[in-house]
Structure formats: C-alpha cells, structure tokens
C-alpha cells in the first residue's frame, strides 16, 4: 500500500483529498488486488499440488499453497508417458502449421481487400462478412469435413480454420493504414505489384503478423473441440485433449450404472481408480507452460489487437 500513499501525497499538493476519497482508494485497491489474487492463487495452487510428493499427503492431511516437501516425481511420471509427450508434439506441430497457414491465407486476403480499386472487392468483403452472419450448423459442417477427406487427419486441425473473417479484417485495416506514398514511390522506380508486396509491404508488417500469429497460436494450443468432433484418432490427440482425458476419467467412474441409480455411492475409494490429483495437476502445468512463456509478448500485443478488431466496424 506504500505507493498508494505516496501518490496520494503527490496529488494532495494540488487538491486536498477528502476522507471519503481515501476510503474509496483503499476499497478500490483492496477489491482490485483481491480479484487479481483470485485469478492467480488457484494457478499457483495447481503448481504446488503438482510438486507435492504423494507420500507427504497423508502426513500433512492435504495440499498446501506452499508445500513443505517438494518432489518432481509426478513430472517424471508424466514425461515418461508416451501419450502426453505425443500430445505435446501434436500441439506444437499444429500451432506451427496452423498458425503459418492462417497468417498466409488471411494476410493475402487482407492485402487484396485493402485495395479499394480492385474490381469486385466490395463483393469479396460482403462474402467474408457473410461468414460472420451465417455460421453453418455442426452436422452439415461435419459432413463437409468428412467428404473433403479431412476427418481423422491432422489437416482437420489446420485447413478449415485457415481463413478467418476477424484476422482478414485486421490485416486489411493494417494494410489500408500504410502510407500510400511508399507504394507509389516503388512503382515509379519500376517495381511490379509482386515486388511491392514482397519488398515494401511485408517488411513493414512484422507487428501485425506477430500479434495475430500469437492469438492464433494460443487458439490452436487451447482448442480441444476440433479433436473431439473431427479427429478421434488416438495418435493425433493434442495436449488439451490428453489433459481433458486425464481430468475426466472420474466422469467415467461416475457414469457407471450403479452410480447412476444412486449417486451417493460415489465413495472416496472410487477416486482411487483415477490418476492422482498430483498427476492430473502436473499435466495441467505441462500444458500451461507454453502459454506462460508467450504471455509477456502476448500481453504487449493483445490490447492493440483487440482494439483494432473492435474498431474495424
């Protein structure tokens, strides 16, 4: 709270601060900091569960936010599991291929649509808007993915989501805001359209690629519905789905017939058939690490990215 008081003093040089104003500052700080703690502490708790040794559990009577004993046993178990390592690799591959494809397709479309003089560009923009309004239902979409031969292949992750209206409009907006003089100067020097795109426009477009790329990468990393619906192949499960499986094994225990009749029969012993909480939380942490690694960079970009999306109108 120290810094609050400092600033209060700075302000008070100009205008005296009333009692109610101080109380409001105090309350605002308490509330905002509490919200931040509520967001942060559960994540830290998950980490501490993952490093609490199983043996220490019965001694201490439960998990603590700061564990007394630390062990990386759960991590060894998890990393020795072929399924989890495979899931991690599938996700990494999916992020790399899916994000590159998405950026290539959407930036190309955004560039074409940024040229208002292109005959037909008005119609194209309407087509892209159409996809906002008419979202196809699950079943016809599934049948299309199926007849395109994508079902149960890696490509189901990356091809149907390659074009996205939001990214296209953000790219379009960005290209439209580039000063037209650059392009004209290059044209006077005899550059072709392709030269202009590759030598003038692309070198200037790093930030927008980085911002949209990060968003898309996080989306690919976090998405689990695509695999549930289109890719049942166990060898192609991304880490999010491996995590889902590890976490929801208890629903399978609970969905057993006698429990359906009498839910109270779910005893603590039923929980013992499930991977221990320590293992589950370790998988949570493993799938969380890449997000935490890109988070600082992400944060720098996302406010801008989100606002561009909001303003594009």
């Amino acid at each position: 709270m120290n810094s609050v008081m400092d600033l209060t003093r700075v302000r008070s040089r100009k205008i005296p601060i009333s009692r109610s104003e101080k109380l409001y500052q105090l309350a605002a700080h308490v509330i905002v900091i509490s919200v931040a703690l509520v967001c942060l502490l559960p994540c830290l708790y998950v980490v501490s569960i993952s490093i609490t040794p199983y043996a220490a559990l019965s001694l201490e009577g439960g998990y603590a936010l700061i564990p007394k004993h630390v062990s990386l046993e759960a991590y060894r178990t998890v990393l020795a599991s072929g399924e989890i390592v495979n899931g991690f690799l599938v996700s990494v591959l999916r992020v790399l291929v899916g994000t590159s494809l998405h950026l290539a397709v959407c930036s190309a479309a955004g560039y074409a649509l940024s040229k208002r003089y292109l005959p037909g560009s008005g119609l194209f923009i309407k087509l892209v808007l159409f996809t906002f309004l008419f979202v196809p239902g699950l079943i016809p979409y599934y049948l299309v993915v199926r007849s395109a031969g994508l079902l149960n292949t890696f490509w189901a992750y990356v091809i149907p989501s390659a074009a996205g209206a939001w990214s296209i409009f953000v790219f379009r907006q960005f290209f439209m805001e580039l000063p037209p003089d650059l392009e004209e100067a290059a044209r006077l020097d005899g550059a072709t359209e392709l030269d202009i795109l590759v030598r003038v426009i692309l070198p200037l477009s790093g930030p927008v690629y980085a911002a949209l790329g990060l968003f898309n990468a996080v989306g690919h990393w976090n998405d689990y519905m695509t695999a549930v619906i289109y890719v049942p192949n166990p060898d192609l499960q991304p880490i999010a789905n491996v995590l889902q499986k590890v976490l929801t094994q208890q629903s399978r225990v609970m969905a057993s017939p006698d429990l359906q009749l009498d839910p109270s029969k779910l005893s603590i012993s039923a929980w013992e058939q499930i991977p221990s909480l320590g293992i589950q939380m370790t998988v949570v942490v493993v799938s969380l690490i890449p997000i935490l690694l890109v988070y600082p960079v992400l944060q720098k970009h996302f406010v801008k990215g989100m606002l561009t999306g909001a303003i594009k109108g």
């Binding site: 500052q25 708790y45 196809p136 079943i139 016809p140 074009a163 976490l247 609970m254 939380m281 992400l298």
Partner: protein, 327 residues
C-alpha cells in the same frame, strides 16, 4: 464491376489508372485479370475456403432438414421426408429441456457476467498507483488465455470431493458438502463462476480503453468543484462508457442460443444433463454419436435461423441505442 472505375481514378496510384475505355466486355475482363491477377490470386485461397467450409454446409442444411439422410447413400440419394424431421424436433421431449437450459444458462451468464468487468474496469481506472494498476491488469488477463481443460483442472483442484481445498475446508468447518462436480443445483453456478473468473479481466480491457478516452480535465475540474468519487463515477465515468456498454449489451443478445459448447461439454455429465444439456451438446450427441442427422440438423437449423434473426435485431438495437452497430 464497372462502377469501380470511378474509384480507380480517385486512388491516384499510377498502375491503377484505367488504360482502356469503351472496349468490349470480354476484353475489359481480360485487361482486369491481367492487371490485377496478383490480387485475385491472393484472395483465391480464402474464396475457396469460404465456398467449401461456409457456403457448402449452409446449402446442405436444406436437404438435410427435409431428407432422411443415410451416410452410405449420400445426400443426393437419401429420400425426401418433408417436415418429418421438424415434427420430430418439436414433439421431442428433449427439445424443450435443451432449449430452456440453453436460454437459462445464457441469461445467467449475461445477468451475472456482464457487470463484473465494468466494475473491475472502473475501479482499476481510478487506482492512483500505476504500478498496482499494471500488475493487477497483467494478472487478471491471464485466465482468458487458459484452455477450458486447464480451467477444469483448476476446478478439480478446488472442489473435487476427495481432497479439493474448498471441500476440505468446508469439511473442517463441520459441513458435509455434496459432490459439487455432479450436483444439479451447483452445475449452473459452477459454469457461471468459472466463466466470470476466466473472462473478467479480459472483458475489462475494452472498458478501460473507453475510460482512457475520457478527458482528464473533466476529472480535474470536477475534483476542484468538490466532487466526491461517487459523483465522478455517476457523472463522468459512467456517461463516458455508456456507448460501449450499450453496444456490448445489445450485441450479447445475438449469442443467446450459444451457451458455451466447449465449457459445457467439459463440465457436464449424464448426472447433470437435466440442467446442463444445451442445444450444441445435444446436437453433438444426437447427431454425431447417435447418427440421427436429420433431427440434429433440424435443431441446428432452428438455432441458426433464430441466431440470424437475433443478430439482425441486435445490430438494429445497437444502431438505435449505441449509435453504431457491427456493420
């Protein structure tokens, strides 16, 4: 297409000055293609993807709704059955439950989830300490970037019936809590609370941006005139973000039939179907797991039509009350 010529003239780029006038249409198309081939080629992949993954499934909806679809016969050879699928939909006992769950969950999300980001944004905006402002913002955005399976993992850590920290705490206090993960009474609150937890910081960003646009002089003048914090909130801050609030509120109307497929699919179980089964999860189970394509498409079609009407209405309302829409 030809009317774009006038735009061409205005755009003042040398290559775009029309080279030929008063030529035959075929010739004009040839010239246009020759001149703009690169731009058309750049748009082509998107066009192909839109046709295959948007137009095609949208077109297929009609035969699927009015046919009895057999996977092996394909869409052409499956027999027409008229309104049978739609009849089955409206007489199905599930449909009422599923529709009600969808709307109730969406309305709860709106009622309980709409205001926390606004309150958080106002309080954050008013913080005098910039360091705390920055740090708390970084922390509250974080959950938005976590996947639903990760959030579900966190939920397990907190309330699993064996050793969840909240359950253990309640037990130590002398309560005997039920298994909250499969509780019918707690299912909807669990959805709403976790969704608020995940999105409150992220949702605040847009309001913070609107707040940053308010002239600081207004606050200074008000303070000089002796305005207290509640005066400032009611007379400066709230009027300042009113357009954004109105816009987002009307637009959220459009999503009323989408109650959060990813989240519900992960959180629900047969024990909570009665309160948690929504249109999307039901279509998934009925259509893909039980291969009842006609009925499931009919439900999806119903959802799309209502969703379309809602988004049109929302846009009209947004234009009327917030002065701007989505298009």
């Amino acid at each position: 297409m030809l009317k774009n010529r006038s735009v061409v003239g205005k755009s003042s780029t040398i290559a775009s000055v029309p080279l030929c006038k008063q030529q035959g249409t075929t010739h004009a198309i040839g010239v246009i293609l020759q001149k703009y081939w690169l731009l058309y080629a750049l748009f082509a992949p998107t066009l192909a993807l839109i046709i295959v993954f948007n137009f095609l499934p949208n077109l297929m909806t009609v035969p699927l709704v009015f046919k009895k679809y057999y996977l092996l016969r394909g869409i052409w050879d499956s027999p027409w059955v008229g309104l049978a699928n739609l009849e089955a939909l409206f007489t199905s006992p599930d449909f009422g439950i599923v529709l009600r769950n969808t709307i109730v969950i969406s309305v709860y999300r709106l009622v309980f989830g709409f205001f926390p980001p606004i309150i958080l944004a106002i309080l954050t905006h008013d913080l005098l300490s910039h360091r705390i402002k920055r740090i708390t913002q970084s922390v509250t955005y974080l959950p938005h970037f976590l996947s639903w399976p990760i959030v579900y993992g966190i939920v397990l850590a907190l309330i699993n019936p064996a050793n969840g920290v909240i359950i253990t705490f309640l037990r130590n206090m002398g309560f005997t809590p039920e298994n909250l993960l499969v509780s019918e009474t707690f299912f909807r609150p669990l959805l709403i609370i976790t969704a608020i937890w995940k999105e409150v910081g992220w949702g605040a960003i847009i309001y913070l941006a609107a707040l940053a646009g308010i002239e600081p002089e207004l606050y200074e003048a008000a303070t000089v005139d002796g305005a207290e914090w509640y005066h400032r909130i009611f007379y400066i801050t709230l009027p300042g973000i009113k357009p954004v609030v109105t816009l987002l509120l009307t637009l959220s109307l459009a999503g009323i039939l989408s109650a959060g497929f990813e989240q519900v699919y992960l959180f629900y179980s047969p024990l909570t179907y009665s309160v948690g089964d929504i249109i999307d999860t039901w279509v998934y189970r009925r259509g893909l797991l039980s291969a009842d394509f006609g009925l499931a498409t009919a439900v999806g079609f119903f959802k799309s039509v209502i969703g379309f009407l809602l988004i049109i209405t929302a846009n009209k309302l947004a234009k009327r009350y917030a002065g701007q829409g989505i298009w």
